[in-house]
Amino acid sequence: MQRLRALMAATPSDAPPTIPTSMWRLVQRILTEYMQSQRIFIEWGSAIAVATILIRNTANTHTMMATWSLYTILVALYTTSVLADVAEQPFQMQRLLAIQSRRAYISAYLIAANIIVISSYIIVVIVSFLTAPLARPTLELFAASLPSILVLISVVTTLMLMLTPLVANTQQRIGVLLLITIPLSWNIIGPAIQRFVGTEYTSYIATFTTIWGVLLWPSLHLYTITITPQIDRMMLVVIVFHLILLAVMIRQIIHWFNKKSLAIA
């Protein structure tokens, strides 16, 4: 009762504002400021440019969808790097104090990056439909590619965030880059190593080649199914694999970000 009286007696200006804000309020702020700063016109402008210049005269539906996917990957890389740069500015540290949760802070930037990339994807699709008379994917085809493109966007933005100085230190970023580049360039590195070490290690090299092949298959296939989507078990496996990969990456980002020094300097 005394506590209630004390609360009622408190004037609005004296009320302690200790309610931690929701992550969504920060997402809203990030998006509003992204538009106010006019950075959004780079994504939206490039979407219109890609649709009107590269796609307009395309006669092949799959070429059109491949361009959409490629454009989306590039925009995801760009937008995430810009937002990571914004998130690291000293002014944003005041906001970090306000929302009182590092997990909410980094998640808000990740969500904002995804929203911006998805909005660019929507624009490139709409403008393509309006300006390209020759090729026009059916609604079924477009709907079938939608889950894979959404997963692709999430994976690319999360991976890019993982590679920014906002989240990881130099050693961690080099580690992630090695995890990506070694499998991708194994067809060059593998034979070179084998030549160096001799034929006695052939079985080990072959093992690594198999491991990288298994790991790379779903990642390379995700891009393929955004272009030629077929709703089947394989698509489900690829998407589930990437959702698990996404969860692992997000968990790692939060873990690194929680330990990171964000001193204003």
């Binding site: 609005p12 200006s13 504002p17 804000t21 920060l26 106010q36 104090l97 009182q100 020094s261 204003i264």
Partner: protein, 320 residues
């Protein structure tokens, strides 16, 4: 009751090695130290911005990590987005604390009043001077009515008259029931603000001064006048051995400072025009100098002598 308790804090990649301090609630604590002594790193850690180390700092009964919404921080390094007006900036920042619209307006009104920026409300940040931006960022730090306000170098880069206004604003905040921690190099006379001063050097707080000790810090005052008549000159230097004078300058050292009122009386009696009365040294700066090793001190402050600057100070002037 302590607002902040820090025990044996060491921060990697900073000079902070072993800092322990207790800051009482609703007091004003000054952290002074030379450039690179770790003042900003300490403030950042108290604000919870150092991931692991900040969890070692207690704010009341809880870790600062759990109470960052009760902390406001202002630093000259913080630059707000230039495409917002002051009102937009403060409103959007206040909204992050989850305030209702009524409470938000009350908080906004109070922050702009405390920082004297009412007339800037509708200006864009890009239109503001450095001093205005500094006050806006202070308002941003105050928008949530923080229990702990951390201010890093509040007067750095400001003109003298702006420094005085900034000191007045912070002085006014002292009466608002919040704990204030200010980090400074001691090159501006902020000592009147502090209840306690901690001197940071060698990665730790090497000494603490309470309010009484701060008041008795040695000061030197310089009075610049037009020509002082011989009779007035003799009366003045007879007052105290801590007074050094030339034809147009009087320097009050040590106990000589106590004679300021008498000197002014003499000067007025002899109809001497007083151009300026100014502190010749900053006590905080002297404290910082004392905390430095001789080698670093010689690099930053080349040796100078006040009496040599004003020539043969004890010789009486000749009448024209």
């Amino acid at each position: 009751m302590n607002a902040i308790a820090v025990t044996q804090l060491a921060v990697p990649f900073s000079p902070i090695r072993d800092v322990s301090l207790r800051i009482p609630a609703h007091s004003c604590y000054g952290i002074i130290g030379a450039s690179g002594s770790g003042k900003s790193a300490l403030l950042n850690t108290i604000a919870g911005l150092h991931g692991t180390q900040s969890s070692l700092i207690r704010m009341g009964a809880q870790s600062v990590h759990a109470a960052t919404a009760l902390i406001g921080i202002m630093s000259p390094r913080i630059q707000p987005p230039t495409y917002l007006t002051v009102q937009q900036l403060l409103h959007t920042h206040a909204a992050l604390y989850g305030l209702s619209s009524t409470t938000l307006s009350a908080h906004y009104e109070r922050a702009v009043r405390w920082c004297a920026i009412e007339q800037l409300a509708h200006k864009y940040i890009r239109q503001l001077s450095l001093f205005d931006v500094r006050r806006v960022m202070l308002a941003c730090a105050l928008i949530n009515r923080p229990e702990l306000l951390l201010i890093d170098e509040p007067t750095v880069g400001l003109y003298a008259h702006e420094q005085h206004v900034m000191i007045d604003i912070i002085e006014n905040l002292r009466d608002r029931e919040m704990t204030i921690v200010i980090a400074t190099r001691g090159d501006v006379p902020l000592e009147s603000l502090f209840d306690t001063i901690g001197v940071l050097a060698d990665g730790r707080i090497i000494s603490e001064l309470d309010a009484q000790q701060i008041r008795t810090l040695p000061r030197t005052i310089m009075i610049r006048t037009n020509d002082i008549p011989t009779a007035a000159f003799e009366n003045i230097i007879a007052l105290d051995h801590g007074i050094v004078a030339t034809r147009r300058t009087i320097v009050l050292n040590g106990s000589g400072v106590q004679s300021l009122a008498q000197i002014l009386q003499i000067l007025l009696h002899y109809n001497v025009h007083i151009f300026r009365i100014e502190p010749r040294n900053h006590p905080l700066n002297d404290l910082v100098k004392q905390s430095m090793t001789p080698q670093i001190l010689a690099q930053i402050y080349p040796p100078r002598n006040i009496t040599s600057e004003i020539g043969d100070g004890i010789m009486p002037p000749t009448e024209k």
